[in-house]
Amino acid sequence: MQTNFTPEQLQNPRVAEADAILRRCVHCGLCTATCPTYVLLGDERDSPRGRIYLIKDMLEDNAPASPEVQHHLDRCLSCLSCMTTCPSGVDYMHLIDLARGYVEQTAPRPFKERFVRQLLARVLPYPERFRLAVRLAPLGRPWLNMLRRFGLKQLAAMIELAPPVLPPSPKFEGPGTAATEDERRARVIMLAGCAQQVLRPGINDSTIRLLARRGVDVTVSAGSGCCGALTYHLGDEASAVAFAKRNVDAWSKELEKGPVDAIISNASGCGTMLKDYGHLLKREPEYAARAARIASLARDVSEFLGEYELGAPKRWSSLRIAYHPACSLQHGQRIKEQPRELLSKAGYSVVDIPESHICCGSAGTYNIMQPEIAGELRDRKAKNIKRVKPDLVAAGNIGCITQLTGQVDVPVVHTVELLDWAYGGPVPRGLEGLARFVSNVPEPKQRRAEDFIHA
């Protein structure tokens, strides 16, 4: 596609980067068909191609973002479905991130919205603060209608999403190393995450057990924390860079201690971010090289496990599992088959959900910032899930799990929780009712050579 930047504009490395991305787009329109907001709203401005155009005009004009542009860019889920559809390889992810930063710097937001954004940025990435916030959320429940009437729909959405009861803290919180009792085959760093360890601590516990059982030492590094995706997608690049630097520092120390086979993430939204650290910190001379190394080591847990032979499962079940591919996993990291295969090999019967390329509406903080569209997408997803009549739903991202819990009549759990269960771990939280459909695989009797000789 033709672009019209002046040579002076192209001096700015960000504009030059945007120009290179825009030049790849041939305006063919294929992306519109798989974009959740275009599918719902039928408006070119709410499609990737339309947004690319809005961004191009905004950057070419070099003017503050208009309220219209802000509105339509805000509505993008960053699900990256367009990127797996695009035959021309347009790097929409980096274009929209760049544009979000530009919008935040040039266009004002009303007080209410600034307040919600600040609240999210100051609470969600910090487990203690978030835990407290979730405990306080029930106090707001009686006031939901009033909040909405006063135009505080985002605050209302936040309260509604908070689970009524929080599970107990995880068994292993780190920092430190959960050492394998088996013969050591690998050593990995695990991103302990932020919101996930509060909402569903069982995910980290399952990951550690699953890995340790197969001879993998799992380290949670002191000083590591939120990956930065949350504030990055709210357009606050400076904060994201700060989070990323903290992790790069913490993990660099770990790398100095000895070889690390992978940096594992079990929340795919975070994993997508880790894999992009090289890009995020490329303009930071002190960090660029280390960040690129960290990014190259980042693996989603299903990606890492896929390279390991997990052996025969310890438990057998006929549970029918609808596998919900999180957008950050299938589009962001292009990991589609591994989680399904792992579940199948663990003995579960896996079914695909129709329209599985379409987002469930969670998308980081999207379900708080854009509750109407997120709600429509959630209902659409729930309907599609119900069509395949599963016993439970598995997903690789805490955002999707929170978004879909309570919407589909069956439990929604993380893929690794199910794997851990099949390979000998405890019943995942919320699946107690299904435990009776799962039985232990009988241990094969040790037979001596003589047993085979029938005199």
């Binding site: 033709q2 294929l30 039928g42 401005r45 559809t85 035959p87 021309s88």
Partner: protein, 488 residues
């Protein structure tokens, strides 16, 4: 790229734009009207981005009644209307005029009825082509025309351009697969043409409407033929060291009486690009690759593939490789279907759509290479060989005005070549703005006059999708002669 001149906008209309926008908002609601500048600019082009013009306003109707209200209003106020589906046209079919109202059909995308006994489906015209097949595939059916943009393009656009696709060799193009339409005429009247039965009474107006490029009315619903999917379908890849051999092979396959579902052709540059995108396992060291697909019962498919390979053997193929699994087939097709987009990875491109008699293929391909070389441009060929529908992709740099101009000149020369060997300007993309000024290469003035008189029957004031299809000179001549007639 601006070889085709657009008609001058009507300043009086532009001066009234804010009142017109208000009226439209009152008619179909604020939610369905896009009037701010950035929003309008997002509609300034379809997939032929060389031509760009933001419209005065865009409306997104939700129902046939909405479309009727808007058209009635436009008719009464003498406003120009440009219908738009998904904006995937490669000939600028949805290019707006500065003083026009774009009617975007993207919100009308429902399946209204699927009748498996009569093998028909009725849909709103803003539904995507692939969504029609998706809606009936669980029952084992599919909708046959499959343009490469089928994931995104709408059936309304398919009807306007009489679109084809790779598999049309066996099943025909859109016109062979549509049974009836609901259409809104320019004065807002809603008419049904044809229906869920094979042949309508009276004149076959449906055949006239399909391919009318949005100039006769706006189709809001369509009843289409759906077909049961074959038990098996498998492609074979045939690689040749010359385009002559490939061309002769195509002719021999068709001549033998076999009707494959598709015969697709890619030349060396196209193969390289598509392979990089799809990792389909295309051979990289051949000059021409044919993808030939057959379908039927399992035994039939096997037998047909064997016969085709036997025929191909006499043309000394360098590669003969049949698909081994459904996944393999999907990969082979993925590269071909995404060829245009994948080309975007390396360059801007200008896509041609000429059709030629199959026998002239080798000669035409070498002339195309010559023409592009003369204009100092690269070209890649990806096309439907089975029906002689060429898609040379002329590669150019859109940010280089001179190169863009050369691309357009080369394109025009290629299309003239197609006509001169007995072919025509467009196989499936339509005329639009792109080939408008070449229409007189193919048609005599009286041919054009007859076509323009038919257009005038549906749209006497030429408000629907103006500035397209007919050269402005022919249009002006016909107006002058009409005025002279009246004066006499």
């Amino acid at each position: 790229m601006t070889l085709s001149r657009m008609p001058e906008p009507d300043q009086a209309v532009l001066d009234r734009s804010s009142a017109i926008i208000k009226d439209l908002e009152a008619l179909i609601g604020v939610d369905g009207v896009i009037s701010e500048e950035e929003g309008r600019r997002a509609f300034e082009a379809d997939a032929l981005t060389a031509y760009r013009q933001a419209p005065m306003v865009v409306v997104l109707p939700r129902s046939t009644e909405d479309v009727s209200k808007v058209l009635k209003y436009c008719h009464r106020n003498g406003l120009k209307v440009v219908p738009r589906g998904a904006g995937t046209s490669l000939c600028g079919g949805a290019l707006p005029m500065a003083d026009s109202i774009v009617i975007g059909m993207s919100r009308m995308n429902r399946v209204l009825d699927a009748d498996f006994v009569n093998r028909t489906i009725t849909v709103e015209s803003g539904i995507t082509n692939l969504a029609i097949t998706d809606a009936v595939s669980a029952e084992g059916f599919f909708y046959a025309p499959d343009p490469s943009s089928q994931l995104a393009c709408t059936v309304g656009g398919n009807l306007a351009m009489n679109s084809g696709g790779a598999h049309c060799l066996k099943y025909g193009v859109t016109t062979n697969n549509v049974l009836g339409v609901k259409m809104v005429l320019i004065d807002g009247e809603i008419v049904d043409v044809g229906g869920a039965y094979p042949d309508a009474e009276g004149y076959d107006f449906l055949a006239l409407i399909v391919g009318s490029e949005g100039q006769f009315g706006i189709v809001t619903e369509a009843t289409l033929r759906i077909l049961p999917r074959a038990e098996s379908a498998r492609p074979v890849m045939l690689g040749f060291s010359s385009c002559e051999a490939a061309g002769q092979c195509v002719a021999a396959i068709i001549g033998s009486g076999i009707i494959p579902v598709a015969i697709e052709y890619m030349d060396r540059p196209a193969i390289a690009v598509c392979e990089a995108y799809a990792k389909a396992g295309y051979p990289l060291d051949v000059e021409a690759l044919l993808i030939v697909e057959v379908e039927g019962y399992e035994e039939e498919t096997t037998r047909l593939l064997r016969d085709i390979v036997d025929i191909a053997r006499s043309f000394d193929p360098k590669v003969v490789e049949a698909s081994t699994s459904p996944e393999h087939s999907a990969r082979i097709w993925k590269g071909r279907k995404a060829a245009f987009g994948a080309m975007g990875r390396i360059s801007d491109y200008y896509c041609m759509d000429g059709t030629i008699p199959l026998g002239r293929l080798p000669e035409v391909l070498s002339r195309i290479a010559q023409i592009c070389a003369e204009h100092r441009l690269k070209v890649a060929n990806v096309f439907h060989a089975g029906d002689g529908n060429l898609h040379p992709l002329i590669l150019y740099n859109a940010n280089d005005a001179d190169e863009a101009r050369r691309a357009e000149l080369a394109g025009a020369e290629i299309l003239r070549l197609c006509v001169s060997v007995g072919g025509c300007l467009t196989g499936e993309h339509g005329v639009g703005i792109e080939k408008r000024d070449l229409m007189d290469v193919q048609y005599t003035p009286s041919d054009l006059a007859v076509q323009m008189r038919i257009k005038s029957v549906f749209d006497p004031n030429w408000q629907l999708n103006p500035g397209k299809v007919f050269p402005l000179s022919a249009l002006e001549a016909s107006r002058a002669s009409a005025a002279a007639d009246q004066a006499a």
